[in-house]
């Protein structure tokens, strides 16, 4: 590439600024809805998965088995197939199958069981004795969940959320290409279909940057919350 080509490429990116900004907002929206669903539904699901294990507070073999099976079922779908199979549901929920909100439906669907497993895993690392100590003091199940499990697991939960966010940034790119919009979609439309390689490169760099920021913020927060 000579100087002129570089100049043209930068010029092109500059004229695309509004679209890039729009794409960032779309990605943010997809990710935001997906993460919200993961925390609001996947979080409690993870807690139930943990508590219903044998030997735990609410040991329940059947419930644990059924939930575990459901979680595995959804998680075993390749994301692209999950998206396609959820088209009818998306249409009912959102009224459309394109746009970031529509794309957030399959994203949420995938994020919920994923986060549930991460939460379950994190809670398992809390020593059994600490929970027992709380029980011996007469703590109620709700107090044990809020004051012991979530508080002792808080650093691990933040790390889980970091992993989830980064994975789903990548999933959101896939969802974007099939009509959701966002950064990945922009990269494909300009970089791949219109051979504007500089757009592809710029979008990938942008994603790299976002991932780094999420990871750094996640690590810092997890470290600060961890008093072990």
């Amino acid at each position: 590439m000579d100087a002129l080509a570089v100049h043209d490429a930068l010029q092109n990116l500059l004229t695309l600024t509004p679209e890039i900004w729009q794409a960032v907002k779309e990605t943010g929206l997809m990710l935001g809805i997906g993460l919200f669903a993961a925390i609001a539904i996947g979080g409690p699901l993870g807690i139930v998965l943990y508590l219903s294990q044998p030997g735990q507070l609410f040991a329940h073999r059947l419930l644990n088995g059924v939930l575990g099976w459901l979680v595995n079922l959804v998680r075993s779908f390749p994301f692209i197939i999950l998206m396609v199979s959820l088209v009818p549901l998306t249409r009912i929920l959102v009224g459309s199958t394109i746009g970031p909100v529509a794309a957030a439906v399959p994203l949420s669907f995938a994020a919920i069981p994923y986060f549930a497993r991460l939460v379950e895993q994190t809670l398992r690392e809390i020593p059994r004795g600490v929970i027992e100590a709380a029980e011996s003091m007469g703590a109620s199940p709700m107090q044990i969940i809020c004051k012991v499990l979530l508080n002792e697991g808080r650093s691990g939960l933040i790390s889980s959320l970091t992993i989830l966010t980064i994975s789903f940034l990548s999933y959101s790119a896939v969802a974007g290409v099939v009509g959701g919009g966002g950064i990945g979609d922009l990269a494909i439309r300009y970089g791949y279909y219109r051979y504007e390689t500089e757009v592809m490169v710029a979008m990938v760099l942008l994603l790299v940057l976002i991932v780094q920021i999420i990871q750094i913020v996640g690590n810092r927060l997890a470290a600060r919350l961890d008093k072990r």
Partner: protein, 245 residues
């Protein structure tokens, strides 16, 4: 204060069979007593101790603490009854993400105390175990002995009439062990709290207990009196333990 009446506890083994950890055991512990439970590993000491606050529910028998049969209580009533029974653990089991003061505050939060009452009581309890200057530290910043003193302050916080201690000194060196035992004794004398302490060391029985039960294969082999630091034992098993100590 504590009456175990023909309690029985068995556990299911991985192979599906049953293992009897505590067999048809009765025991009475008086108010204000420091009572020891001693025996070899696997004798059922921890299980028997955990039956007292129903961390293990007996398959048969009654557990009467401070005049109430705990086995007959609803879940909510049992939680309230447990606020009257503190517990101290070998591995301390402190909340790592809470400061020393907040660990001691935990049982009071559970019991629904007001913020001001909690703060005052936490200070008192930390003074009892001489840890007032560590209130804002986290457990990770403390030595083993200090962690156990936090454990004791926590067990003491809700003004229980009974404290159960499962090998409270087994993770500690001999000198620290002495200071923790002194601490338990001091609490017993100052507040009249009944203390039940599990140990596998006769030394612990000698230094703080008034009486002790020797457990063997889930049964009480002998209840021994301790007078002026000497243990009055009759069975061969107890005598061999005394000799080894």
């Amino acid at each position: 204060m504590i009456h175990l009446q023909a309690v029985h506890k068995r556990f299911q083994r991985p192979d599906g069979g049953w293992f009897t950890a505590v067999e048809d055991t009765s025991l009475s512990i008086g108010a204000g007593e420091i009572f020891g439970l001693i025996g070899f590993s696997g004798a059922g000491k921890s299980t028997l101790l955990r039956l007292i606050n129903l961390l293990e529910r007996p398959d048969a028998g009654a557990v009467i603490v401070d005049g109430r049969d705990l086995t007959s209580l609803s879940a909510r009533e049992l939680r309230r009854a447990r606020q009257n029974i503190g517990m101290v653990f070998q591995q301390f089991n402190l909340l790592t993400n809470r400061t020393v003061a907040d660990n001691v505050a935990f049982p009071l939060e559970v019991a629904g105390w007001s913020r001001a009452d909690i703060a005052a009581r936490v200070d008192e309890c930390l003074d009892v175990v001489s840890l007032g200057d560590r209130a804002r530290h986290y457990p990770a910043q403390l030595s083993g002995g200090q962690k156990q003193r936090v454990g004791i302050a926590r067990a003491l916080a809700s003004r229980p009439r009974v404290i159960l201690a499962d090998e409270p000194t087994s993770a500690l060196d001999p000198r620290t062990t002495q200071s923790i035992l002194e601490c338990l004794k001091n609490i017993n004398e100052r507040f009249g709290v009944t203390v039940v302490v599990v140990t596998h060391e006769m030394g612990v029985i000698r230094s703080i207990c008034h009486r002790a039960a020797l457990l063997d294969h889930g049964r009480i082999a002998e209840v021994m009196d301790v007078v002026d630091g000497s243990v009055d034992a009759r069975t061969d098993l107890a005598l061999s333990l005394l000799e080894a100590a």
